[in-house]
């Protein structure tokens, strides 16, 4: 859990790109895909994204491990859209109140592909971006306040720690006789109690960490950066690539006549 946030072992090309450039591209592609519900633009973007896997050091296996809830959600979303959307064209399946027609199936597939195409860039970004580098870029390049950015970064370390703490507190409470058995109400109370225990520990840890940071001179005033966040020619290529993917998706959909703005 705590190592999931580091990039160790990933030496793919895109790990060297500036996080802000990658961030901009993810934003652009997501925005374009959110504009239309059609299967052509989604498929085009999806294919392009799959082609980027090796550049980001992502494999299908890793994708499934990290993104399976998203993938299943996209599939379920598509399926339910196919069932409940208004029918048009030939009816393919009819079971009582549920029916799937050519039109609704097309809509459902479009919905599913679009869900995947929107989720994938974020997973790609996470795979090839170290949180520390992202923080550096946000503070140095995007000029966000460094207190906020570094504070958040340090707090993220504690989140992983708290996941372990949750398990320990759960065992410690079982050793006191607070069980996970019983009625739903009892279980709710047990969970609330455990949450309180975690909250206390989280506050203690956070205040100690804050003291550590303050004692190391963190606070107001000028600071320097040990790691300079820089742009390189690679970032230009990343931006060009992102614009290309977004443009291709739009042009392909417009060419095939499937582009339809969500608000129409």
């Amino acid at each position: 859990m705590r190592d999931a946030l580091t990039l160790r072992g990933n030496h793919a090309l895109l790990t060297r790109a500036n996080p802000l450039a990658k961030f901009a591209v993810v934003f652009l592609i997501t925005l374009v895909l959110a504009l239309s519900i059609d299967w052509v633009s989604a498929t085009t973007a999806l294919v392009a994204e799959l082609a980027l896997f090796p550049l980001a050091g992502l494999t299908l296996r890793l994708l499934w491990q990290r993104g399976w809830p998203l993938i299943i959600a996209a599939a379920l979303g598509g399926w339910s859209t196919a069932i409940v959307a208004a029918d048009s064209g030939a009816v393919l399946l009819d079971v009582g109140i549920w029916s799937i027609s050519e039109g609704s199936l097309q809509l459902g597939i479009g919905f599913m592909l679009r869900g995947l195409a929107i989720a994938l860039p974020a997973i790609l970004l996470m795979t090839c971006t170290d949180p520390t580098d992202l923080a550096d870029a946000l503070a140095q390049k995007a000029r966000l306040p460094h207190r906020f950015v570094l504070g958040t970064l340090a707090a993220m370390r504690l989140v992983g720690l708290m996941a372990e703490e949750w398990q320990t507190i759960g065992m410690a409470r079982r050793a006191r006789g607070v069980g996970s058995q019983g009625s739903p109400l009892q279980r709710l109370r047990a969970t609330l109690g455990q949450s309180f225990g975690l909250l206390v520990q989280a506050i203690r840890r956070a205040s100690r960490l804050a003291i550590t940071m303050e004692a190391r001179g963190f606070g107001a005033g000028q600071r320097t950066w040990a790691r300079e966040s820089t742009y390189s020619p690679l970032d230009a290529w990343v931006l060009v690539g992102g614009v290309l993917i977004a443009a291709t998706a739009v042009v392909a959909a417009a060419g095939m006549g499937t582009w339809n703005f969500v608000w129409r």
């Binding site: 190592d3 580091t6 409470r173 050793a175 003291i211 600071r223 040990a226």
Partner: protein, 543 residues
């Protein structure tokens, strides 16, 4: 050592001066420190002793400049100065290390964490990386080559290098002792003239303690910085410091209305002199004085030796089986092939190096973790019809059979009042409430019945956590590092109390590095090997 010139290391040792200094925390009526007069010369190394409540940590925090503002209802009296200036305005002049290793790490990569303090002091980039490498060398976490541009980590070919740890080594993968040394490196990179250590080794095993102590010694020899360390275990620091200062609680010193203000400093002088003069007083205050092992009760009965619990070829891990998509993958055990018996009236000490899975093993036989392989089985005498596998027992069935005391007492608090805390088990079981008074008495908690458990001192919390588990009257007691960070008085009480339980037929399993503690309890030792090599079979020797 002279104050004026900075050494070759670029460190100018700091002078500390307190005049009638006192501090009252917001929301408290009594001051934490009162009437402190103290001068520490540049380069001096001071060990700060005193009973809990003497304000040692408050003083360190004040020197580190991290005490809350006076504005929010806190009160400051007198003056406390570093080089004649208030600490708050001098960022980086002092560096503070606290007790909990997890909160001494700020960033997730080794090199970045060391650089953090220097960055905040606006040190130029090239200089930062020079300092990072030097500081890591000094604390014995030698950085493995790498460029000085901070991107070194991404270009290094990963994997632990024989020469040391790479700059992008994840800080979460360090041991407690390594984390504290990393914190020291982060402090050194700021080039502070004053190093403040607040019980830096209380949470560490004996190897970690020496690791940190030696690293501190090397760095002081090199930089000549002034040191103030707070620690119970005098023997660890005695040879490293050249002065011991004993503080006494502020409330007793001067808050009594019009009475003359006495100094917060009780004793002050060279280590040997203070230890000789105040030996009895320090022992009384629970300080671990060198060469003194607190007197404890001796065992009077060998115990019946009936088998209560057995571990067979056990493999353990804290991780649960993981879901990868639709597949379930069992975790990699931290320790495997462990065979041991827990017997009535016998103690079992689980020992071994860091990371050997001692606690994990203890939690598994205590029915709190599922075994990865092998099995834990309860004898009929213990299970009394609840089934053979403790992990499958209901919480109520578990607590009246196996009691587990965790390393961190706060993890086990479930109510907001000491008495409720003790009554909790008996109330759930429907019997045993009459035992509570005896436990309160026996563990000196009677005067605290209405207090909130979270507000107790370290020793009180430890005693309470033992008492709460015992209130359910378990036949087997499992303790995880019960003596970590405890003062000598709590240590002796705890050890004596456990011998009574053993004599009465309870079985005590303790995960511990504390050999003196194991010696008092007697019994067998289960020594776990360094890493999981699979199939290594360990037998607990006969008592």
């Amino acid at each position: 050592m002279t104050a004026s010139d900075a050494g070759a290391s670029g460190v100018r040792p700091a002078a500390v001066s307190a005049r009638g200094w006192g501090w009252r925390h917001a929301g408290r009526s009594a001051p934490a420190v009162h009437g402190l007069d103290l001068d520490i010369a540049p380069g001096e190394r001071v060990l700060l002793l005193g009973p809990s409540g003497a304000g040692k940590s408050t003083l360190l925090h004040a020197l580190a400049g991290v005490l809350g503002d006076e504005g929010d209802d806190a009160d400051e009296t007198g003056s406390l100065l570093i080089d004649g200036v208030v600490p708050r305005g001098q960022r980086g002049r002092s560096g503070l290390m606290q007790q909990d290793p997890e909160t001494q790490v700020v960033l997730s990569r080794l090199g970045d964490d060391v650089a953090f303090g220097a960055e905040n002091l606006a040190v130029p980039r090239d200089e930062i990386w020079r300092r990072v490498h030097e500081a890591l060398d000094d604390v014995g976490l030698r950085s493995a080559g790498g460029g000085a541009d901070g991107r070194a980590g991404l270009d290094a070919d990963g994997g632990p290098d024989a020469a040391g740890l790479p700059l992008d080594h994840p800080t979460s993968a360090l041991s407690g002792g390594q984390k504290q040394r990393l914190a020291l490196a982060g402090i050194l990179a700021m080039r502070p003239g004053l190093i403040l250590l607040d019980e830096p080794t209380a949470n560490l095993d004996p190897d970690g303690v020496l690791e940190v102590r030696d690293a501190v010694g090397r760095c002081l020899d090199k930089t000549g910085a002034t040191l103030v360390v707070v620690e119970h275990r005098v023997s660890v620091w005695k040879d490293l410091v050249d002065r011991i200062v004993v503080l006494q609680p502020g409330s007793s010193a001067g808050s009594a209305g019009s009475s003359a203000v006495t100094s917060a400093v009780l004793l002050d002088g060279p280590p040997d002199q203070v230890l000789a003069e105040a030996r009895d007083m320090l022992i009384g205050a629970g300080v671990w004085v060198p060469g003194y092992v607190p007197a404890t009760r001796r065992r009077t009965s060998a115990g019946s030796g009936d088998l209560l619990l057995a571990a067979e070829d056990l493999a353990v891990s804290r991780e649960r089986p993981r879901r990868r998509g639709f597949r379930t993958i069992p975790p990699v055990p931290v320790q495997s092939g462990v065979t041991a018996q827990v017997r009535s009236g016998h103690a079992l000490a689980v020992t071994g190096p860091n990371g050997a899975g001692k606690s994990t093993f203890a939690l598994t036989i205590a029915g709190l973790l599922a075994p990865v392989a092998g099995k834990v089985s309860a004898a009929v005498e213990l299970s009394e019809g609840a089934g053979i596998d403790p992990f499958k027992w209901k919480a109520n069935q578990l607590i009246s059979r196996i009691g587990t005391v965790f390393q961190e007492p706060e993890h086990q608090f479930v109510t907001g009042r000491v008495l409720d805390e003790l009554m909790f088990g008996p109330r759930h079981l429907g019997h045993g409430e009459e035992r509570v008074d005896e436990l309160l008495e026996r563990l000196r908690l009677t005067h605290l019945v209405d207090a909130n458990p979270y507000t107790l001192s370290g020793g009180e919390k430890r005693r309470l956590s033992v008492a709460t588990v015992l209130a359910a009257h378990p036949r087997v007691l499992v303790l995880d590092e019960p003596t970590f960070g405890q003062d000598a008085n709590t240590w002796a009480e705890l050890a004596s109390f456990l011998t009574e339980l053993l004599d009465a037929g309870t079985s005590v399993v303790s995960v511990t590095h504390d050999q003196e503690f194991s010696a008092v309890l007697g019994g067998a030792e289960l020594r776990l090997g360094p890493a999981s090599r699979g199939g290594a079979r360990q037998e607990a020797g006969a008592a």
